[in-house]
Amino acid sequence: MKKVTIFGLSFSLPLLLWQLLFFAFPLFFLVALSFWVVENYRMVPDFDGVNWTKMFGRDVFWDTYLRTLALAAGASVLVSILAFPCSYGIAFKLSANLRRLAIFLMIIPFFTSYLVRVYSWQIFLSDNGIFNAAFGLLGMGPYTMLNTDFGTMVGYLTLCLPLVVLLQVFGLMFVDRTLIEAAHNLRCGRLRTVFLVVIPSARVGLVIAALFCFILTFGDFVGPLYLGGGKPPTLSIMITDTTKAGQQWPRAAVIAIVMIATLLVVAFSAIGYAYRKRA
């Protein structure tokens, strides 16, 4: 065991203190906040369960909760399925240089304004937008795409597709190539090989990718609001409305805690499933 030195502490402590003070503590503070009460538009420290009973007693809250859960779960499945052929192509069908280029290109959008990209999709999806102009040339439409669940999904896809592809690619790169060749040699068909050999071997990467998709979409308010129309809302839209419009921070805190609890349950079950010993 090494001695604790000033040198060591001056490297290990700064981030620890910063994240404890400005990350962990504010999150725990939300729990306390959820028991405070609002009197005359001012928050008063208290220990009152009124916010919890108010929120849990509302049908709107539970409807929104289930809707958000369904949207995020649906997005995880949809994005995973849509991303898989792309990840498979990048991992197995490109030369090393092209693969590096594809990964390079997929990393860029992850750090590039999601907000403006969502706005840009409005140009494509609106009633007089690019897609409907194109459909018009074919004598079809116009279709309503903006302010529908389809719009929300486009937003989710914009948010998650690059990350899901990247995580899936890393999962697929670790698949033992000799297993695939063995399957081929044993006359296993192409699709069967994908489903019986490739997907089970890459399970960890695929599940983690879907999990990140769930986490991101469950908490996103931009896609459902500006492409999905925001009515009915999702939990994140509810938080922004409750905080910004109503000054009801304690009630927003209740929603936030329910969301975090849900994410924890989903994350632990997904990780447990990903690393479970194969039956």
Partner: protein
Amino acid sequence: MNRNWLIDWSLRAYVILALAFVFAPIAASFVFSFNADRFPSLPLGGFSLRWYEAIAEDPLVWEGLRNSVVVGICASLLSTALGFAAAYTDFRYRFFGKPLYLALALLPPTIPVVIMGLAMLAFLSRVSLSGEIHSVIISHVVMCSPFAMAIIRMRLSQMDPSLEAAAWNLGAGEWRAMFHVIVPFARPAIFAALFITMAVSFDEFAVAWFVSGLNETLPVRILGFLQGQVSPRINAIGTIVFLTTMTLVILAQVLLMSRSGGVDETPRRQEP
């Protein structure tokens, strides 16, 4: 290997399709920012710079840009410093509770941004730190430092720990070895972390929206535009934002790829 020409090429075409989906909104923003028509649609109107002129005359846009630059620079310097220190801690020390330490260091990006925003707003206003430019900086350091740490940690994992020990044996003190061995080795990753964290901060709109009060950053300004009418000005601002962040991210990636020799360099230490 039995390869099927058709399947191979359709998969490659699918990869291109996916990239097209990802870059379509970025390209559209760029194209329509030069479009003269007020309502963006096809066919395109004439070429025009009027939307750029419109944002150049908007003092709120300039103020937002200035705030974003200040926040971006401060947040990237601070979070890279913190991230480097934590990555070095992980590289060198084994201690009780290390998994918890790493979790705390890497977890913030998995918390939904609205929840982060609410938590930061509630906490910072309680200690009278909210509604100012430094409130945005504080929150952005929380959100950016995990990226800095992950990038630098990846680079340090390629380093032979005995290099540092060799420096000690040759008489260098710990601080000297740090600045003559560790920092030079990690330099490309440190710069990459600076660029990436600046890009993350420059794009972050949700937490900034909650805590910035009247000191709006550029993305918060964009959010304001979005809540109003459709305006091609967003495309013009968007194009500038895209060019800025894409430059930063590309620079970071080039740094990480060239100096570290890409994936060919074998890691000497396994990830835990």
